[in-house]
């Protein structure tokens, strides 16, 4: 099997990631570095969607639910506890558990794919409504007022673990965010290379066959969904840290749509695609935000519809296939690189 070429590409990606981690602060000024930091937080969110959709075949329209939950959890716990370490852990743990609970409800109830989309979307809308109506003293958890529509300002930043008196500077927040992205990417590559990951991809390919081979597909999907929830929670935690602020808009339909666009544009069934998609789309949004002529929603909507119609496999797989056609075939495979799980996903749109 082409394990060696898979390992090589993984190491190459890791090296690029680490180079960016160290190099970005030398290249960018502080303002630009802050910008890139939020792009990276969104890239982590994109990875969670890309993992459960592109590999698990689970159509979640509500990844922003776990993102927002992670953000709010971090804010509430950090405002109450002096140290941010517990807040970070809970910001990952709570969305993981919530996703597991929701996943149990959906997958053990044999809910069909489209209904999974509907239910996740509805859950997001419920959270949006609930958090919007949390203005006033009744909705204060410890020292942390949830603040309703206005959200929670002045969320304490991350600190060096165990040293609440040493909060992270913006440059250090970059290291934390980019480090998190590299870590999540490595974790997912590891999962996908494992036996668990291969079964996950097999279930995406044909759930009935996997069941008939004795795999409890409900459990696999639940685990994939829970992992995705945890990663989205971590992204929410980074996002809240970046602005020192969180509001119910994290649960809005627009956020959910944006995450889908990252993955669809970048490429389903890849991990690099969602990362690049998130950065490109976020950059585009920041450009659109700087002018008044063209509305950002209009552009995002057109991109979403156009990609579904014209480039449903996304940019990275298209480029990879084009590159593979240019290269002379080095091995007798019908399709390049199919030993890797992420190469198998090109034609796997659910």
């Amino acid at each position: 099997m082409s394990l060696s070429s898979g390992t090589a590409s993984f190491l190459a990606m890791l090296a690029i990631g680490l180079a960016l981690l160290v190099g970005a602060p030398m290249v960018f000024d502080l303002f630009a570095l802050l910008q890139v930091t939020v792009f990276v937080a969104m890239a982590v969110l994109a990875l969670s969607q890309g993992f459960i959709w592109g590999y698990g075949g689970i159509m979640s329209f509500g990844q922003s639910a776990f993102f927002g939950l992670g953000g709010y959890t971090y804010a509430v716990v950090a405002m109450n506890a002096g140290d941010s370490t517990g807040a970070v852990l809970l910001a990952i743990l709570l969305p993981t558990l919530f996703a597991a609970l929701l996943g149990y409800f959906m997958f053990y109830g044999r809910i069909s794919d489209a209904y999974v989309g509907v239910i996740t979307l509805t859950v997001t809308i419920i959270l949006f409504s609930v958090f919007n109506s949390t203005a006033g003293d009744a909705y204060t958890i410890g020292n942390a007022p949830l603040g309703g529509f206005n959200g929670m300002p002045a969320v304490p930043p991350l600190n060096i673990p165990g040293r609440p008196d040493l909060p992270l500077e913006p440059e250090q927040l970059w290291y934390a965010s980019m480090g998190c992205l590299v870590l999540v990417y490595g974790l997912l590559r590891g999962i996908l290379a494992s036996r668990f990951g291969r079964v996950v991809v097999a279930i995406r390919e044909n759930e009935t066959r996997a069941q008939l081979l004795g795999y409890d597909t409900r459990l696999y999907k639940l685990l994939v969904f829970a992992i995705g929830g945890g990663i989205a929670g971590a992204a929410g935690c980074l996002f809240t840290n970046w602005g020192g602020f969180i509001s119910p808009t994290v649960f809005s339909l627009a956020t959910s749509a944006q995450v889908l666009i990252y993955v669809l544009v970048g490429g389903l069934g890849t991990l690099l695609g969602p990362i690049l998609g998130a950065i490109a789309i976020q950059y585009l949004i920041s450009l659109l935000g700087a002018q008044q002529v063209i509305n950002a929603n209009l552009v995002l909507g057109v991109i979403l519809a156009a990609f579904v119609l014209l480039v449903p496999q996304g940019v990275v797989p298209v480029l990879r296939d084009a590159l593979a056609r240019l290269r002379p075939p080095s091995h007798p495979r019908a399709k390049p690189g199919n030993g890797l799980p992420d190469a198998a996903g090109v034609e796997a749109k659910p």
Binding site: R195, A202, E205, Q211, L212, G214, P332, A334
Partner: protein, 238 residues
């Protein structure tokens, strides 16, 4: 001796239609049985009831005396029943080797799984196309990939729903040979339409018609049976 698998008055109703009606069926250890019958006789539905893809409306299914009625498909698969379905169920986006490796992996160590994968590839003569993506193979080859995944699962009972459909003559011969070979260590139930194929492999045959068992006898007796001929001729005349 407890039979390997047993259906007791198994019945499947869809709305007003009864697809399988009070079927009593028994298969012993290491037995090879063919199921024949016209389209819509309920053979595939019966297979789905045995593998948990459908829960019988009434009646029971027992595997080595243990009641598996209503158990989930993966639970039944773990007890040792493997099925090649009528419509090919394979992992289209994965390679032949990956398909078989997934089947071999469950509950096995890495070394065991690797050994079973290679053995199965050889046994089903798929080594030459092990790196090909299954979705791009010809129909007959995909049938074999599916049979191979079922074998790699190492089941005690192998169900094959129309294993020779869409195969060339050589492929059919090879499939018949493979079935006899499987039968040296495992029990099989084979659904087929092709009478020549049935003659090649069968000893005992069960004939389904309109959801019920019409006849169950040795192959020569069944093929000589007037009622069976009527069922098939009637179908041809229609």
């Amino acid at each position: 001796m407890t039979p390997l698998i047993q259906a007791q008055a198994a019945t499947m109703r869809f709305g007003g239609v009864t697809a399988v009606n009070h079927v009593d069926f028994t298969l012993g250890e290491m037995e090879l049985r063919c199921l024949i019958g016209p389209n819509g006789a309920g053979k595939s539905t019966f297979f789905k009831m045995l593998t948990g893809q459908l829960v019988p409306s009434s009646g029971a299914v027992l595997f080595r005396g243990r009641d598996i009625t209503g158990a989930a498909p993966h639970e039944i698969a773990r007890l040792g029943i493997g099925i090649k379905t009528q419509v090919p169920n394979v992992f289209n986006g994965l390679t032949v080797r990956e398909n078989i490796a997934i089947a071999a992996a469950r509950g096995k160590s890495v070394q065991q799984a690797r050994r079973i994968t290679e053995e199965t590839l050889t046994r089903a003569r798929l080594t030459g196309i092990a790196q090909r993506v299954v979705g791009q193979l010809a129909h007959g080859q995909r049938q074999w990939v599916e049979i191979a995944t079922v074998l790699a699962q190492e089941p005690e009972l192998v169900l094959l729903d129309e294993p020779a459909a869409g195969m060339t003559h050589e492929e059919v011969l090879r499939t018949a040979e493979l079935i006899r070979e499987i039968n040296r260590s495992q029990a099989l139930i084979v659904v087929e339409h092709d009478m020549q194929f049935i003659r090649m492999i069968a000893r005992r045959v069960t004939v389904f018609n309109q959801g019920s068992i019409l006849v169950e006898d040795d192959v020569e007796a069944v093929l000589a049976n007037q009622a069976v001929r009527d069922v098939y001729l009637g179908k041809q005349a229609a």
